[in-house]
């Protein structure tokens, strides 16, 4: 009697438990669904669809025609694409290290008690919250023939420079504006990292006779190396996609001097309606970023100091 009673109680409990579990699972699916549908339609499907598109010729108005790898072959013979890739490489190699180095030093200097800290920080944040179009317009004016930059050069007796219209200089100008706009962003990330550096370590180094600069190079930099690495990778990824400043300030010119890959993809797809070729170019960027991100995951453990 007793045993059977116990058994039914247990069975009841189990069935109610599993029904609770099933109900929770149903709620789980329901809660994820809205977000998942959006991600499915506008992120996952497009990535796959984009690869198919890169194998077609498509101007949107007619139907796509399958051309196999022709778009990727076309890239090899496209001298503008070659110039674009080189520009992107140059843009990345110049802008990312300067940005990382500058922001790290700025953050280190800001990470101490001093007067007017709030003012400094706000000053560096302003360009970050300003939309890239407004930044572009401001700098088109600053860098114009009679602009602020040339007038400042004039004061110290130098000739005016064609910042945005000289093919040799324009890309450097765009890079400078990019750096100007993004300094505050990485600075915040470095500031957060610096605040996590244990004070005891730095003080111990100070007692051992290390000066401020030595402390920074030998103690702080290794400790924040994961952040340096991270900021570098995200900087590279960002520069592979840069579009706004180039579009507004130079339209990729003069000639193709400032055409970077983010701009060239847009131009091919939405100016010339070469959807297939544009997709192929975008896929190259995708693969490059994928390789970078995965190598970041794999190499992080080896290159970067961790406490374990």
């Amino acid at each position: 009697m007793e045993i059977t009673q116990d058994l039914t109680v247990v069975a009841k409990k189990e069935s109610s438990l599993s029904s609770i579990k099933i109900r929770e699972a149903i709620w789980g699916f329901l809660f994820i669904t809205p977000n998942f549908i959006v991600v499915l339609i506008f992120t996952i499907f497009p990535v796959i669809f984009s690869f198919y598109m890169s194998l077609t010729n498509w101007n949107i108005l007619s139907n796509p025609t399958f051309v196999g790898l022709a778009n990727y072959q076309q890239m090899l013979g496209d001298s503008v694409a070659k110039e674009t890739f080189l520009n992107t490489l140059y843009y990345t190699i110049i802008s990312v290290p300067i940005n990382v180095l500058l922001t790290m030093v700025l953050a280190a200097m800001l990470n101490q008690k001093m007067r007017g800290l709030a003012f400094y920080r706000t000053a560096y944040y302003l360009p970050v919250i300003t939309a890239s179009v407004a930044v572009s317009l401001m700098f088109m004016w600053v860098l114009s023939t009679n602009g602020l930059a040339n007038q400042l050069l004039g004061i110290i007796g130098l000739q005016p420079v064609k910042w945005l219209t000289d093919a040799k200089i324009a890309l450097n100008s765009v890079i400078s504006v990019t750096i100007w706009k993004s300094l505050g962003m990485n600075m915040i990330i470095f500031l957060a990292a610096l605040q996590d550096v244990p004070n005891e370590l730095v003080e111990a180094a100070a007692i051992d006779g290390a000066n401020r600069v030595q402390q920074f190079i030998h103690i702080t930099v290794p400790l924040i190396s994961p952040v340096i690495f991270f900021v570098t990778i995200t900087g590279i990824i960002g520069s592979f996609q840069s579009f706004d400043l180039v579009y507004n300030m130079t339209k990729g010119g003069p000639g193709h001097a400032t055409t970077v890959i983010g701009y060239y993809i847009w131009q091919q797809a939405f100016n010339y309606m070469h959807m297939g070729y544009g997709s192929a170019l975008a896929y190259i960027v995708f693969i490059a970023i994928l390789v970078l991100t995965i190598s970041q995951w794999l190499l992080r453990k080896r290159w970067v100091y961790t406490e374990e």
């Binding site: 929770e24 977000n35 339609i41 506008f42 984009s50 001093m114 401001m138 004016w141 959807m275």
Partner: protein, 285 residues
């Protein structure tokens, strides 16, 4: 303390020099951050004939606001602002809703395949926006959303990234509260709505601000999907100004300042959450 030790005195001089160097560099940097803004403001209050007539440092006083009145009269900048505000608000609320729901499910609800799905979600964060532009344009044109604000809203109301951050935040939510709620017969949806959300204001504000600012400042996607003038967002409208007012720098600067102003005002009100959202944006891989 340190200055009591004479051996450390020399270090103090070095420290002082370093600090002075730091202050000088920081100040120079800060000035170079602010000057372009000041010059834009100064240009925007110049009369057209004075833009090129004087040196860059000449300030017109009393100011001439005709650039502002002209731009407000000739350009539907209020319409652009309303368009942008509408889209930004809908996206912000939509994104907060869907990603807090999904984040809650990933953090607290058990269902088969949950963790594998989450890893899949994380993997999609590697997909760069550039590769999505062309296929999403095709999708939007197939569903008839091109040239409507739906094109801006639909693709942004679900975000993997903010789902991920919501999950991280909800995981730290005390499980005692959850157990107590369960004992009281609280269903997941009433727990989510009545306990979880009211207690998650910081993350909701931060991510909401991030979404709002992202939409407000977004340029490339609206440029691609909006070609009808009356539905343009502020950024797209501002960009088109350069075609009409080629070297009317006072007008262009007035336009820029009008589009920046709302975000700067917002920034000074909720600076803390802005800084927090920068940190989180920075973590986006």
């Amino acid at each position: 303390m340190e200055s009591k030790y004479s051996s450390l005195r020399t270090l103090d001089y070095g420290r002082l020099i370093l600090k002075m160097l730091a202050v000088t560099l920081l100040t120079l940097g800060a000035i170079s951050m602010i000057i372009p803004f000041l010059w834009s403001i100064s240009t925007s209050i110049k009369s057209t004939e004075n833009i090129f007539a004087h040196s860059a440092f000449w300030i017109q006083w009393p100011p001439d606001f005709s650039a502002y009145t002209k731009i407000l009269k000739e350009v539907p900048i209020f319409q652009y602002a309303l368009n942008t505000l509408k889209v930004a608000c809908i996206v912000t609320f939509g994104q907060l809703l869907t990603s807090s729901m999904a984040g809650y499910a990933f953090a607290k609800l058990k269902f088969p395949g949950r963790d594998r799905l989450f890893v899949f979600y994380l993997a999609t964060m590697m997909i760069p926006g550039t590769v999505l532009l062309i296929p999403n344009f095709i999708v939007m044109s197939k569903i008839g959303a091109v040239n409507t604000h739906w094109a801006l809203i639909l693709s942004a109301v679900g975000s993997v990234y903010s789902t991920f951050l919501m999950r991280q935040f909800f995981q730290t939510f005390p499980s005692e509260l959850e157990d107590a709620a369960k004992l009281d017969g609280c269903t997941p949806i009433s727990f989510y709505w009545r306990i979880l959300l009211p207690n998650s204001k910081p993350i909701l504000l931060t991510l909401g601000l991030m979404a709002f600012q992202g939409i407000w400042n977004d340029f490339q996607w609206p440029l691609i999907v909006l070609s009808r003038p009356e539905i343009r967002t502020l950024q797209v409208g501002l960009s088109y100004l350069t075609n009409e007012y080629y070297t009317d720098w006072n007008l262009l600067m007035a336009g820029s300042i009008l589009t920046i102003l709302p975000i700067i005002v917002l920034f000074f009100f909720v600076q803390k959450y802005f800084v927090q959202s920068f940190k989180l944006t920075g973590l986006k891989g």
